[in-house]
Symmetry: C2
Subunit: 213 residues, 2 copies
Amino acid sequence: MAARDYGQYGGVARSLELVGERWALLIVRDLLVGPRRYSELAAGLPRIPSNILATRLRELQEGGVLRRVPHSRVIVYELTEVGRALEPAVLALGAWGLAALGAPRDDQVATADSLTIDLRSAFRPAVAAGLPPTAYTARFGTTELHIRVRGAALEVERGGGECDLAFAAGPDIRSLLSGELAPELAIATGVVEVLRGRGRLLTRFATTFRLVA
Amino acid sequence: MAARDYGQYGGVARSLELVGERWALLIVRDLLVGPRRYSELAAGLPRIPSNILATRLRELQEGGVLRRVPHSRVIVYELTEVGRALEPAVLALGAWGLAALGAPRDDQVATADSLTIDLRSAFRPAVAAGLPPTAYTARFGTTELHIRVRGAALEVERGGGECDLAFAAGPDIRSLLSGELAPELAIATGVVEVLRGRGRLLTRFATTFRLVA
DNA sequence: CGGGATCCCTTAGGATACTG
DNA sequence: CAGTATCCTAAGGGATCCCG
């Protein structure tokens, strides 16, 4: 009835029984950004077979992690309170994975939802709290995100919008966020292209979002 | 070469490729407590087939999460720096799973290592920082742990030792840690049996370690 | 068109036995 | 003790099809 279990009585084992199956935490990741429909989830997880997506949604629902909400004609999946409580764990995993990330291969995609969670994983509230409110528009490949930092609060939304700095970033933005590449150099070498606003704010961006703790 | 991948470029997907395979995070969990030999890992994960354990150890080594250290005749597995960086993620998952834990079934075991991580998941450093140093000896079933809290620091070791309070706890200690059951009632109902020391300290224990944050 | 279900094949996982 | 080897089952993957 529960997913196949580990025969252990403990927190980690229980978590893995509920959300440890393949693809499950990626579904949770996308739902942490907001409620999504089946087809949106499928689009954000291009390689998931549709039967697996359906199976995982059912299992996660039975485990109390998410619920199906019928909205007139369409069905929307959203996290329950229990499911939202996974956020710290998902962000911690995200932060660890970001540090272990190499260069993107060309068979890999970065979706809006995954980028959003990546930003939240790399966000440093304690640092941001000491900085003035700032809005960025960031374009990664074809997806554009509107990022607003107000004190220790972060909001990320799809699409552009009013901002203090708009930039387009290539994959090497990793080196900017890891501190290997100075912001001025990132601009000079074309890793980051300033589209609008004050390029100096890229320094603030790079201290607000950072890999490795 | 890497584990089968998700076709996504992002922190969470990368983490899951490295430590998302079945059993992998339970191995990491036990190694977070300390270096372990193959047979110790096998004993702590009673249901893992030995070929799977061997496969996981190899994959985790290739992923840079752990290393094999030959010690004269025996081989010891220990986490690398990268592997130890998984601690926040494992503890976050542990805390979430603890909150989702029901009563133990009799086909489930609780090992010393899993109990140790559970305690670390439930530990509240901010609360502990305001309390005097305290040492506990806790017996869960047949395993005994020596727990020392000094300010915001926690140490958990196998076995007993000098302590301010020694107690034996049944599975229902869950309700104590979740706040459903008052410490006095836990003692009165036999959920917790005080073996030595001041039973009043159980209240301190229950505020130092707590489910749900 | 959204939300799946079915089919078939490949691969990983599980149980057990065995070896340097 | 620290793993391989083998065999079998069950889960994942990919394509296609279906139904309201």
